[in-house]
Point group: C2
Chain length 188, copies 2
């Protein structure tokens, strides 16, 4: 995991510190829908001072190469790690994306955006359908009332998802940093 394995053994304190951070990072990865061990893998890569191969990860994590392969792919899909090309090496190399703001943005763009858009589609379709049903049951006041209530709910949900969509836009285009700058505002 470090520059020099021998050196690391020498210093238990450093090793312990890293382990604590890795665990802390890994534990919170479930927010991204990532399993604990894949979270640990991320933590490992975070401290690695050079891109790692699957074999290296496996030996560090004491896990199979297959698991490393799937774990890395999960992280790759979320753009939390990048594949690195290094001439001479036949093995694939991976390193974490150190720009965490970008990682955050990508996560929303990849995961949330997909959900949002799927829901928007379904809601649009469903509201149309309600209109159609409402036409058929125009004579039935009870049914009409129920349909109206449903439609109002869908409309609210729709508005919310559109808002969410615009919010994710601000993550992507960087407008969010106008509201919340990376540098904390100076205390007065």
């Amino acid at each position: 995991m470090g520059l020099d394995p021998v050196k690391e053994e020498q210093n238990a304190a450093l090793h312990k510190m890293r382990k604590r951070v890795i665990e802390s990072i890994g534990r919170n990865m479930d927010l991204y829908g990532i399993s604990l061990s894949t979270g640990h893998l991320y933590g490992l890569l975070f401290f690695a001072d050079k891109p790692m191969t699957l074999d290296e990860m496996g030996s560090e994590m004491k896990m199979s190469k297959t698991s490393m392969s799937t774990g890395v792919r999960t992280l790759l899909d979320l753009k939390m790690v990048n594949k690195v090309w290094e001439k001479g090496s036949r093995k694939d190399l991976y390193e974490v994306e150190y720009d965490w703001y970008q990682t955050f943005t990508d996560f929303f763009d990849i995961k949330w955006r997909k959900s949002v858009e799927a829901n928007i589609l379904v809601l649009r379709k469903s509201m149309d359908e309600i209109d159609k049903i409402a036409n058929e049951y125009a004579e039935d006041p009870e049914m009409t009332d129920m349909l109206q209530k449903d439609k109002a709910k869908l409309r609210d949900a729709y508005a919310y998802y559109e808002w969410l969509d615009r919010l994710i836009d601000t993550f992507e285009n960087g407008d969010i940093y106008k509201l919340v700058p990376k540098e904390p505002p100076a205390k007065e």
Copy 2:
């Protein structure tokens, strides 16, 4: 699930529409770390036109009351549903929180905030520790270099988490709506 179960049977189209929306909502609930069936429970409550009891949920979902109990608690913890008091009824009643903006905010306040603060604490502690170790190894250039690199990483992560903390603040205090209004800006 509706006002009048008989009526609903009459109209397959409405039922189908609701089912589609419920599934769509439920499917995307994994973003909140919620299981599919709890997501469906949420969808059910979303369309319910009155607060429901555990027994009613169970019969609609065709699942045990125990499962409803745990499912509701999960949703309650995330403030996605509210407990409702109705005089006369001995049973607990629940309804969804229809303010989805609030639900979004609560989610980040409950889940993300906790992670962020835990990480901030660990990072602070770890940076202090690095300083201590660095003092011991002041004579060792290689070790010093490694410690510096680690500390730089921690510092970056720390800055990111503080940013995230401030971002969540804007969700909570409503500042986010200045940047992304609930009402979409009028198209020109």
